[in-house]
């Protein structure tokens, strides 16, 4: 069962998720080491593989605001984290859809570190508090990209259709 490993507030910026000084590193295989690099303890846990795949970062509104840097998404994807938040900034949301980072938009979501969650298509149940939060689903156009396995396979499919 997914467990909350980090709790953050509103307006978490991409500068916090992936500091600008590491932007010369671009490849998805290399970015995960710098995820939340200024939060030294959490970063150390990630690098030591102490955070299981599917673990949840709980956040408030406007998660991922700021820069369009895709490293913010690929760094979190590299650790297979799930972000459950009240809301997401546009470019970060789109990048996550494109790269397959799992985001769950649950307005009003509240949880503490250690809480266990049920992540269902239409709701998030915080088993530790008993509270549940309705999920705002992705618009169909974005869901189609997720269902295709990300933007690279989705674009490849479109190119193949055009060719045919």
């Amino acid at each position: 069962m997914p467990r909350v490993v980090l709790k953050l507030g509103d307006d978490v910026s991409t500068d916090v998720i992936y500091p600008g000084r590491f932007m010369a590193t671009v490849l998805p295989a290399e970015t995960p080491q710098y995820a939340f690099s200024d939060m030294t303890e959490f970063n150390a846990d990630l690098r030591a593989k102490q955070v299981p795949h599917g673990a949840v970062i709980a956040a408030g509104r406007n998660f991922g605001c700021g820069s369009s840097r895709e490293q913010a998404t690929s760094a979190l994807k590299g650790h297979e984290l799930t972000i459950v938040a009240s809301g997401f900034a546009r470019i970060f949301l789109q990048n996550s859809v494109n790269l397959g980072l799992r985001l769950v938009c649950a307005p009003g979501f509240e949880a503490s570190v250690g809480d266990e969650l049920d992540l269902e298509p239409s709701r998030v149940l915080n088993r530790s508090t008993g509270r549940e939060f309705p999920v705002v689903p992705l618009p169909p156009a974005r869901q189609a990209i997720v269902d295709a396995g990300g933007l690279i396979p989705y674009t490849r499919r479109l190119l193949a259709e055009r060719k045919a």
Partner: protein, 430 residues
């Protein structure tokens, strides 16, 4: 039903009679801009085409612009190698709108695009930089995307699954007071809207204050629209846009401005009385933490930064140079100036602005993103405070999570550099 400017632009780019907020489209792209992160776009583009049998060539190299600005000259061998990889791709594909590390034709992408005439009213522009919103200043619909999405644009020539954003109308009336400028206006709006108040929306600017505002100021407004979460900012093209395009950007061809319909539907209307605005500061660590300069006046500053895609244009440098000319920067304060482009650098040199900065003790740096994003120069020490005309003050933005960044106009920055503390330019050095 009437359409907003962005709805009209998207309808045309999608071959439709009309569109409305919420529609999902695949608009053709007129210009696809990247900076250093073209290195990642290139590798994702390769991934898309691998094994398809299709040639690894973008759909239309003449519609791609690549500008090195984030880390120029290269701060590390890694960056230099990325630059080299991009140069090779540019040469192999005949991309002509390429701006390398040069003192004459180089600069920040969000200045190069308008000043070279790459941006025209009515266009759809995507850029792998969140401040691509800037180009709405010329009446284009311009928005930031990630590198993988750009690779998809390079393959298809269209942006996929673009949801038509709802539009917020902003009406600004009256004259801006002395020492109050476009930066104060956009900080005021961000303070009102909050950092996410315009998420997934467009901000369309109207009113006599905007009509009188030069394109440089409109670029400042649209640049920071994204700090309220907006997909883009846009100023409908007008006489000033036409003047800028012909006189400053060298555009000679036919230009078709796009205006909103009188019965366009807006999700919200915000009214601002320009004459009531005052110099403002965005306090650490969020851009919407906006206060009057008087609320934080006297805060000691270790570093003052003037420049960037937000406020590194000739008007901005003129304002700051006038304030510091013949005076001296406080001994405990480092003042860094970085013009937005090589062209602006040269003009500021000719007009004596750069001499005014250097003689006051400022360091004039090459055109580029400079210290704004903490990548390779002008980093802050532990516990230090910076006051900057840039656009973001998130924790760690200038390279150190244990520092503080305040954002302000060029006038506030210049007056504060002399005093060594945050200063109201109406009261400080004249």
């Amino acid at each position: 039903m009437g359409m907003t400017v962005v709805e009209k632009i998207l309808a045309r780019a999608s071959g439709r009679e009309s569109v409305k907020a919420g529609d999902v489209l695949e608009p053709r792209v007129d210009l696809a801009m990247s900076h250093e992160n073209a290195a990642l776009v290139i590798s994702q583009f390769h991934e898309i085409l691998k094994g398809t049998g299709l040639p690894e060539r973008p759909w239309d190299p003449s519609r791609i612009a690549i500008i090195f600005d984030h880390r120029v000259p290269a701060e590390s061998s890694k960056t230099a190698t990325n630059h080299k990889k991009v140069r090779q791709f540019v040469a192999a594909n005949g991309i002509t709108r390429f701006h390398d590390v040069r003192g004459d034709t180089g600069g920040i992408c969000h200045q190069i695009l308008p000043e070279r005439g790459y941006v025209l009213p009515g266009q759809v522009i995507v850029g792998t930089d969140s401040h691509t919103t800037s180009h709405g200043a010329l009446g284009a619909f311009a928005f930031g995307i990630g590198a993988t999405e750009m690779a998809s644009v390079w393959a298809l020539g269209a942006a996929l699954n673009v949801e038509v954003p709802a539009t917020i109308r902003v009406e600004v009336k009256g004259r801006l007071p002395r020492h109050v400028g476009p930066k104060d206006l956009i900080l005021h709006l961000i303070g009102r809207l909050t950092a996410q108040g315009a998420n997934f929306r467009v901000i369309e600017f109207h009113g006599d204050t905007i009509r009188r505002m030069p394109t440089s100021g409109r670029l400042t407004l649209c640049n920071m629209a994204v700090e309220a979460g907006a997909t883009s900012g846009i100023v409908p093209a007008d006489d000033e846009t036409m003047r800028y395009l012909s006189d400053e950007a060298g555009v000679t061809g036919l230009v078709e401005p796009v205006a909103p319909d009188d019965d366009a539907v807006y999700v919200d209307t915000i009214r601002v009385t320009a004459s009531k605005l005052e110099p403002l500061v965005a306090c650490p660590h969020t851009v919407d933490n906006v206060k009057p300069v008087s609320a934080v006046a006297g805060t000691l500053v270790d570093q003052v930064v003037i420049g960037s895609c937000t406020n590194g244009r000739l008007d901005d440098l003129a304002t700051a140079a006038k304030i510091v000319k013949g005076k001296t920067v406080a001994p405990w304060t480092r003042m860094l100036v970085f013009p937005a482009s090589g062209r602006i650098y040269a003009e500021a040199l000719t007009k004596g602005y750069l001499a005014a900065f250097v003689n006051a003790g400022a360091v004039v740096m090459n055109a580029g993103c400079g210290p704004c994003l903490g990548v390779h120069e002008g980093a802050l020490g532990d516990g230090e405070v910076a006051l900057s005309t840039t656009n973001r003050n998130f924790q760690g933005r200038m390279g150190n999570p244990n520092s503080q960044v305040y954002l302000c106009s060029p006038a506030v920055a210049a007056a504060s550099a002399l005093a060594g503390a945050i200063t109201d330019p109406r009261k400080g050095a004249r």
